[in-house]
C-alpha cells in the first residue's frame, strides 16, 4: 500500500510539472525512480519515456482544446529535432557530457533568471 502511494505520488508530481510547464517530466521521474524506487539508471530512463509519452499526449490534447497548440510550429521543430536526435545519439560517446551539462546548467540558470525578472 505504501509503495502504491509512493508510485501514485511520484506520478502525480511529474504529471503536474508536465502539464503546467510543458516539459517532459523525466527530470523528476528518472531521479525519483533511481533514488526512491531503486531502479537502475538505464531502466529508469527507458521506463520514464513510456510514462511521459501518454502524459504528454494528454497534456498536448488539453493545450489543443485551449488553442495553445501551434501544429505548424511543432512540425518545424520536430523535423529539426529528429535529425538532431540522431546526431546527438551518435555523438554521445565522443562528447564530454559532464562539461556540457555544466555549460547548459549555466544556460538554464541565466534563461530562468531572465524569465523571472
Amino acid at each position: 500500500m505504501q509503495n502504491m502511494a509512493k508510485l501514485g505520488f511520484i506520478g502525480l508530481i511529474s504529471g503536474m510539472v508536465n502539464g503546467l510547464l510543458g516539459i517532459g517530466g523525466g527530470t523528476i521521474l528518472i531521479p525519483a525512480m533511481i533514488f526512491l524506487l531503486g531502479e537502475k539508471q538505464h531502466k529508469a530512463h527507458g521506463t520514464s519515456l513510456a510514462i511521459i509519452l501518454p502524459t504528454a499526449l494528454v497534456s498536448a490534447l488539453i493545450y489543443y482544446f485551449h488553442s495553445y497548440l501551434d501544429l505548424n510550429l511543432t512540425l518545424k521543430v520536430v523535423s529539426g529535432a529528429v535529425i538532431g536526435g540522431y546526431i546527438g545519439a551518435k555523438l554521445m560517446s565522443r562528447i564530454p557530457a559532464k562539461s556540457l551539462k555544466k555549460l547548459f546548467g549555466i544556460f538554464m540558470i541565466v534563461a530562468g533568471l531572465r524569465m523571472v525578472f
Binding site: 509503495n3 502504491m4 501514485g8 511520484i10 506520478g11 511529474s14 504529471g15 510539472v17 508536465n18 502539464g19 503546467l20 510547464l21 510543458g22 517532459g24 527530470t27 524506487l37 531503486g38 531502479e39 537502475k40 539508471q41 538505464h42 527507458g46 521506463t47 519515456l49 513510456a50 504528454a56 494528454v58 497534456s59 498536448a60 488539453i62 493545450y63 485551449h66 495553445y68 497548440l69 501551434d70 510550429l73 511543432t74 518545424k76 523535423s79 529539426g80 529535432a81 535529425i83 538532431g84 536526435g85 546527438g88 545519439a89 551518435k90 555523438l91 554521445m92 557530457a97 559532464k98 551539462k101 547548459f104 546548467g105 538554464m108 540558470i109 534563461a111 530562468g112 531572465r114 523571472v116
Partner: protein
Amino acid sequence: MLIFVIGLLMGILSGLAIGGGTLLVPALIYLVGTEQHIAQGVSLAAFIPTAIVAVITHHHQGNVKFRLAGYLAIGSIVGAVFGSLIASSLDAQVLKKIFGIFLIGMGIYEYVGKSKLERLKEKGGLKEPSSQQMGKVIPLHKPLRTKAKAEVKVKKK
C-alpha cells in the same frame, strides 16, 4: 529556418541526454517570440513523435518496465490534466515566472548534479557515479533495490 535550427539543436541535446526539451521553451520565447503557452504546447507535442521512437528503441534493449510505467502513468496522467488546466487558466506572465523558477532549479541540478552523486558514493549508496552519463549501469545499494523490487511485486497481485 531558425525554428528548424532550434529543433535541430534541441534534438542533439536530447540525444546527448542533456535536458534539451527544457531549453526549447525559452529558445522559442526569446529567439522566435512565441507566447509562453504556445511554446509549452510545442514542447509537449514535439515530444510525442520523438518519445514513440525512443520507447521502441529502449524496449528493444530491454530497458522499459511496462508494468511499473503503467502504475506511474496513472498518477502522471491525472497530474497532467490538473497541470494543463492550471497552465491554461494562468496569465502568460505568471506562467513564465513559474517556468523561470523551475528552470533555475533545473540549471542548478544540472550544474551540481554530479557532485551530489559523488557525495552519495562516499556514503556507500552508489558506485561508479561517473558512468551515469554514458548510459552504463549504476549499481545501487543492493538491499534497497531488492526491497523496492519486492514491494512492487507484492503490489502486482
